[in-house]
């Protein structure tokens, strides 16, 4: 009775805490895609996410499965634990599938925040225009190099059609991101110069860094 209460409290606590681990979300996605067991999940994870997201070891999968089950995002398929070599299989609950879709949409916000972080961090150099322009120039170089790296048409060495499709989608996203960033650098450079000019037209305020 007491154990059940403690378990229920643990579940409630877990459900109230946002799940931040991208590995957990990625594993949930693989289970949404199709029910699976731990070893199979580890292999599919490796194939799907490669260098983008890493599992430290197979134990990572068990930990993640525990966290997902605790939040009622997945459930064990009854009867799959039977036999001499029990291999429990997991499937996504309706809530798990729904939350996975919501998490995916939230990635857009995450991407925007990452760039916002760069812009805000650049603010530390805004008082020294030359330094800020130097960073912008190097940032631009990095994006130009990224543009050069994107393949023209990815060779179809993918193991399946889904992987080939995902590869093409990633390439196109890379290319479009490069364009957006290069245009932003042009804009930011112009704005920094304009801001420095207007600042030069007024006397420095007390405590303001020298220009």
């Amino acid at each position: 009775m007491r154990d059940a209460r403690i378990a229920a409290e643990g579940t409630a606590r877990a459900q109230a805490t946002p799940m931040r681990s991208p590995v957990n979300w990625a594993l949930l996605g693989l289970i949404v895609e199709r029910p699976s067991y731990a070893y199979d999940l580890a292999q599919r994870f490796e194939r799907r996410f490669g260098d983008v997201l890493a599992l430290s070891n197979i134990g990572h999968v068990y930990t993640a499965l525990g966290a997902l089950a605790e939040r009622d995002l997945i459930e064990e398929i009854p009867g799959t634990r039977a036999g001499r070599q029990p291999r429990p299989r997991y499937r996504a609950t309706p809530a798990g599938a729904e939350q996975y879709r919501a998490w995916l949409v939230g990635r857009a916000e995450e991407g925007r925040r990452q760039h916002q972080l760069f812009v805000l961090a650049l603010g530390a150099l805004a008082a020294d225009r030359e330094q800020a322009l130097e960073v912008l120039a190097r940032y631009e170089q990095a994006w130009l190099a990224e543009g050069m790296r994107t393949p023209i048409a990815r060779e179809s060495d993918a193991v399946d059609r889904l992987s080939a499709l995902l590869g093409r989608l990633i390439d196109e996203d890379d290319r479009l991101s490069v364009g957006a960033r290069l245009e932003w650098v042009e804009y930011a450079r112009g704005q920094l110069r304009a801001s420095a000019q207007s600042a030069g037209a007024r006397p420095a305020e007390p405590g303001e860094p020298g220009r």
Binding site: A137, E140, Q141, A142, L144, A145, G147, M148, T150, P151, I152, A153, R175, L176, V178, G179, A180, L182, E183, V185, E186, R189, G190
Partner: protein, 236 residues
């Protein structure tokens, strides 16, 4: 000595307004695919016309194979440099084959030989099926290929292409980019401009042009085959 060298090139807008290019320097080697990215009005087309010798700079030097291009007007076109304008224009009654023959014919190549060269060039760019088509029948990608064929019919050592993927359908775009890459891999220097970052894919060198300044990304090492070809031909 580089195949193409621009040193300290300056160019003001034709109306005498803003500086489009200020002290721009650039070197292109044989077998390189170099792409200049820039926003509208950045001067990327002007830079390409100067690099091709079509338009003189206000100041600075432009040399192709060591020869000064300034004052030579369009004479070097067809003598090593091929230039593709972003808009393909050929006569209403002209077929793609006839269009591709114009270069050789204007250099007094006999019609039969000009036809053979044009057909080979159309074949090379994957547009042999367009030979009998009029301009209005061509897709955006095919139009770029035919424009390149006209240039290639004169066997240039450097091709300058203004916005090869502008207005080209997404499905055809990679084919055009792959074609430019393959020309460079065969040893032709390719200098292209683009307003879309997609045009930078697999370039050996990428530049951003803005506020009259040309900025570059770190250079990619050239493919081993290009280095071997250069060594075999005694190039540096």
């Amino acid at each position: 000595m580089s195949l193409l060298e621009l040193e300290g090139v300056r160019k003001r807008r034709e109306d005498g307004g803003a500086l489009l290019l200020r002290e721009v320097s650039l070197r292109i080697e044989a077998g390189e695919l170099a792409v200049v990215w820039g926003m509208r009005g950045s001067g990327r087309s002007t830079l390409l016309r100067i690099a091709a010798g079509i338009e003189p700079p206000d100041a600075g030097a432009v040399r192709f194979e060591g020869r000064d291009l300034s004052g030579r007007g369009r004479r070097l076109l067809g003598e090593g440099i091929g230039y593709c304008h972003r808009t393909l224009r050929f006569g209403e009654s002209q077929s793609a084959l006839e269009h591709a023959m114009v270069g050789p014919l204007s250099r007094w190549v006999a019609p039969a030989a000009a036809r053979r060269r044009a057909l080979a060039a159309l074949e090379r760019v994957g547009a042999a099926h367009c030979a009998g088509l009029r301009q209005h029948k061509l897709t955006g990608g095919e139009a770029v290929r035919v424009a390149l064929a006209r240039t290639l019919a004169l066997a240039p050592r450097m091709v300058v292409v203004d916005e090869p993927v502008a207005g080209v359908d997404l499905a055809e775009r990679d084919g055009v980019l792959g074609l430019l890459r393959s020309l460079a891999d065969e040893g032709v220097a390719v200098l292209a401009s683009t307003g879309e970052s997609t045009g930078l894919s697999q370039a050996d060198r990428a530049f951003a042009l803005g506020e009259g300044t040309l900025r570059s990304a770190p250079q990619r090492p050239l493919a081993a085959v290009v280095q071997l070809r250069r060594a075999a031909s005694g190039g540096s």
